[in-house]
């Protein structure tokens, strides 16, 4: 064969091939860098939710549990960007396997677990980048963060990105056709976002304009029950059905952990949040890798 490029030694077969993980990871990041519309989306969500809704609604709701509304919603907007970034990256797989590179991946000998791991880590990295945009507004909102807080926040965001990208990959493997991201945005992202406690608290005191101050003694009493208030306001209690849905949403726990890191305030039991962040991402990765390996030899 005079005309054919150089020979290649036979490859070893393994489940974990770091070159494959690296190549797929890098691919996601290059794709992201060349698509400005994604960055624009992250920016526009930040401005709309954090600044416009945050300060707009914040003018009426003076405080939630001692935080301004814009502060309260900050971890939620980070989560929203993580949700969008992760699912956009994951759902591209539907496309990719019909008219993109994925068929070439499927006919290559590369181990699928490594392909999936690279893809998911790539999606999670983009999620961290997009989630950092609202985070950069923290000083503007009066949220103080040290370097350690930032690293911890990134860790939680990455774990969240892994869990959601992997879930999206499982979904994408089951979708056979696709005509736009709208159904994902309306059908998956928004329910997960609205039912995560991102924009309203589960319980607590919401301070409105013109309310009388709560006496210090009562405030101390309430603090013992986990309800905090700086000014005055009314006690919020969500309807039972809504509470159930928020508690059933795994994103609530990841978001709550992020809120704990960023604001030092949380609404969910800590053990549940830590359990979710430790178990959900690896479990989702395993299932996603399994789903992707079934694309081969379908």
């Amino acid at each position: 064969m005079t005309d054919v490029p150089a020979p290649v030694p036979a490859r070893r077969s393994a489940l974990l091939d770091l070159r494959v993980v690296g190549a797929m990871w890098w691919r996601e990041l290059v794709r992201f860098r060349r698509d400005r519309s994604q960055l624009f989306g992250a920016l526009s969500r930040t401005v709309l939710w954090l600044l416009i809704l945050g300060f707009g609604l914040g003018a009426t709701l003076r405080e939630i549990e001692g935080y301004t509304y814009a502060q309260y919603i900050l971890p939620g907007v980070v989560t929203l960007n993580v949700l969008f970034a992760s699912l956009q990256s994951a759902i591209a797989l539907v496309w990719d396997r019909q008219v993109g590179l994925m068929r070439q991946v499927l006919v290559s000998p590369a181990p699928m677990l490594s392909v999936a791991l690279g893809k998911i880590c790539g999606g999670a990295s983009i999620a961290v980048i997009q989630g950092t945009i609202p985070l950069a507004m923290a000083p503007l909102l009066g949220v103080r963060m040290g370097a350690a807080d930032l690293l911890l926040a990134w860790a939680v965001m990455f774990a969240m990105g892994v869990a959601i990208t992997a879930t999206g990959v499982i979904l994408a493997c089951r979708m056979r056709t696709f005509e736009g991201f709208g159904s994902i945005s309306n059908g998956v992202i928004q329910p997960l976002y609205f039912l995560s406690g991102a924009i309203f608290p589960l319980k607590g005191i919401v301070g409105g304009v013109g309310f009388l101050d709560i006496p210090q003694a009562l405030r101390d009493d309430l603090a013992r029950y986990g309800v905090y208030a700086l000014g005055g306001g009314w006690v919020v209690e969500l309807p039972q059905w809504l509470r159930v849905m928020v508690y059933a949403n795994p994103v609530s726990y990841l978001l709550d952990l992020l809120r704990l890191v960023l604001l030092g305030f949380s609404q969910m039991p800590l053990w549940a949040s830590l359990g979710t962040v430790a178990l959900l991402p690896p479990a989702a990765v395993v299932l996603a890798a399994w789903s992707m390996s079934r694309l081969r030899h379908a």
Binding site: M1, A10, V20, R34, Q98, L106, P109, H297
Partner: protein
């Protein structure tokens, strides 16, 4: 030496038998065309041979490896080019090849060399750093063929390779295939263009999931008309009949159509 051996190979999707009990062999060095109308089962057959789709009956051996029990070895032994480009359009030519090298576990040093050679083989050195969005159909096809050769496969598999190419692109593709064959490469392709199959050493006619005829173009002519020399087009219509084949759009067709309408930035 036998490079492809199908034994009673078939695949059903629900009630629909896309491919029914196909058996044939292809020898090393053959230029083998699977000829058939739209929806005949050519692509499903090819998808089974490239381990993308599992057979529901029978099996096949590609370069000695069983597609059911040893798909990883089959994947190492073939170089595939699909109907629609299987490329990442946001990546450059070089980046696409780099991913291929990683997927095939090429050592980094060999990979760099191999990528450079593939780019020059495809005459894309000057376009190597451009994202593929700006590439013509012919450039993409050349890149894909060069990529399919990078890991030194025993068999090249092409699904409708000339679809969407202009006459110059088609001519260039056939020239390249002829040069590969002169070097001893085995080539298996599907096509619905009968004149493309004329140059093949063996032609299998597929209709409604069945292999209805198999042989050299001269053999097939003799069988259909009692003598050699009839164009394959006539032979094909004689064997497969004149009825039009209307098939429903597949999910892939729909996504391709969506893309052509300018859809979805997520690609």
């Amino acid at each position: 030496m036998t490079v492809v051996e199908c034994l009673d190979l078939g695949r059903s999707f629900g009630d629909l038998a896309a491919v029914e009990a196909v058996s044939f062999t292809m020898e090393e060095g053959d230029f083998f065309a699977l000829l058939g109308p739209n929806g005949a089962g050519k692509s499903t057959l090819l998808a089974m041979l490239t381990t993308l789709v599992a057979p529901s009956r029978g099996t096949a051996r590609v370069a000695g490896a069983d597609i059911r029990t040893d798909p990883a070895r089959v994947r190492q032994a073939i170089g595939a080019v699909f109907q629609e480009p299987a490329l990442d359009e946001r990546l450059t030519a070089r980046e696409n090849l780099a991913i291929h090298a990683a997927l095939h576990g090429m050592p980094r040093r060999t990979a760099r060399q191999s990528i450079a050679e593939a780019l020059s083989w495809a005459q894309l050195d000057l376009a190597a750093e451009r994202p593929l969005r700006s590439f013509s159909g012919g450039m993409k096809r050349r890149l894909e063929l060069a990529r399919a050769l990078m890991h030194r496969p025993r068999l090249i598999v092409l699904d409708e390779p000339t679809l969407g190419l202009d006459p110059q692109g088609r001519r260039d593709l056939w020239d390249r295939i002829a040069r590969l064959r002169a070097g001893g490469m085995s080539v298996l392709m599907t096509t619905h263009a009968t004149h493309e199959a004329e140059a093949c050493t063996r032609v299998g006619i597929i209709d409604r999931g069945r292999l209805v005829a198999l042989g050299t173009p001269a053999d097939l002519s003799r069988r259909a008309f009692g003598g050699p020399g009839m164009p394959l087009e006539e032979v094909f219509v004689q064997i497969a009949g004149r009825a039009l084949r209307d098939t429903e759009a597949s999910p892939r067709d729909r996504i391709v159509a969506f893309h052509k309408r300018g859809g979805e930035h997520t690609r």
